[in-house]
């Protein structure tokens, strides 16, 4: 083993904290991973809202006031952008996670991803109409 090692094999160094700066693909991967921080934080915000809702009208109205804080609005804008990024990347890998075979042929990737996009737009529109935005 010692003699073999004397050939000094090439060991590619991987910087543990900065490897993702090396390639745009790694950066896109990390962006996708970071979406979970914002979606998780937003889920906690929803949880707080649910608590306020359970505490009565006054508590819930004060929660709505908190949503007006500039920091919360800035968080919403960032979280919305990253949530959409999560949605797009998630739908785009769905054909790989759920390959669908009809007879001999596999359903084209664009059809599977496209069906998800259509469903997403319809559901979002339904929620917006249901919530009285339109």
């Amino acid at each position: 083993m010692g003699e073999e090692m004397s050939r000094r094999p090439y060991v590619r160094e991987i910087p543990r904290h900065s490897w993702f700066f090396r390639h745009p693909r790694y950066m896109r991967y990390m962006t996708r991973e970071i979406t979970c921080i914002f979606i998780g934080a937003y889920t906690l915000l929803l949880l707080v809202g649910l608590q306020r809702l359970s505490q009565g009208e006054a508590a819930y109205e004060s929660f709505l006031q908190v949503l007006r804080e500039p920091a919360i609005i800035a968080f919403h804008v960032a979280a919305l952008a990253l949530a959409v990024y999560h949605t797009v990347t998630w739908f785009n890998v769905t054909p790989k996670a759920l390959p669908l075979q009809v007879g001999e042929e596999f359903v084209p990737n664009a059809v599977i991803a496209g069906a998800h996009y259509v469903g997403w737009v319809l559901l979002s529109a339904l929620v917006l109409v249901g919530a009285g935005v339109f």
């Binding site: 709505l64 007006r68 917006l128 935005v133």
Partner: protein
């Protein structure tokens, strides 16, 4: 044959990733509108309280919160590793405990409505 407990966590990650992909952007849009002063009718106390009073509404709210909490926790665990934090057992314990606490809290709040 040894069994892996990974499918349990991964199952909520897959389901949670799908559910958050579908509903989170539009929910964020609704609360953003509320923050900008244009509170949607659906976010008024009377409407939302009525929705959350029905068992079906409770079920939908719980499903979204539960799946989002657990999928975010799982992805956060991987993200910590990717950023170079190698204390995986500690990270996993913390994020999954947080998700469990959030799950319990959501049940308590829903029962009180």
């Amino acid at each position: 044959m040894s069994k892996s407990n990974k499918p349990i966590v991964w199952g909520t990650f897959a389901a949670g990733g799908t559910v958050t992909a579908f509903v989170m952007p539009v929910l964020m849009l609704l609360t953003l509108l509320a923050g900008l002063g244009a509170v949607p009718q659906g976010l008024s106390y009377a409407t939302l309280h009525g929705y959350a009073s029905h068992w079906l509404g409770k079920l939908v709210i719980f499903a979204i919160l539960f799946l989002s909490l657990w999928s975010s926790a799982h992805r956060l665990r991987i993200t910590f590793y990717d950023f170079g934090v190698r204390a995986d057992t500690l990270v996993a314990t913390i994020v999954y405990l947080a998700a469990a606490a959030g799950t319990v809290a959501s049940v308590i709040f829903l029962v009180r409505i």
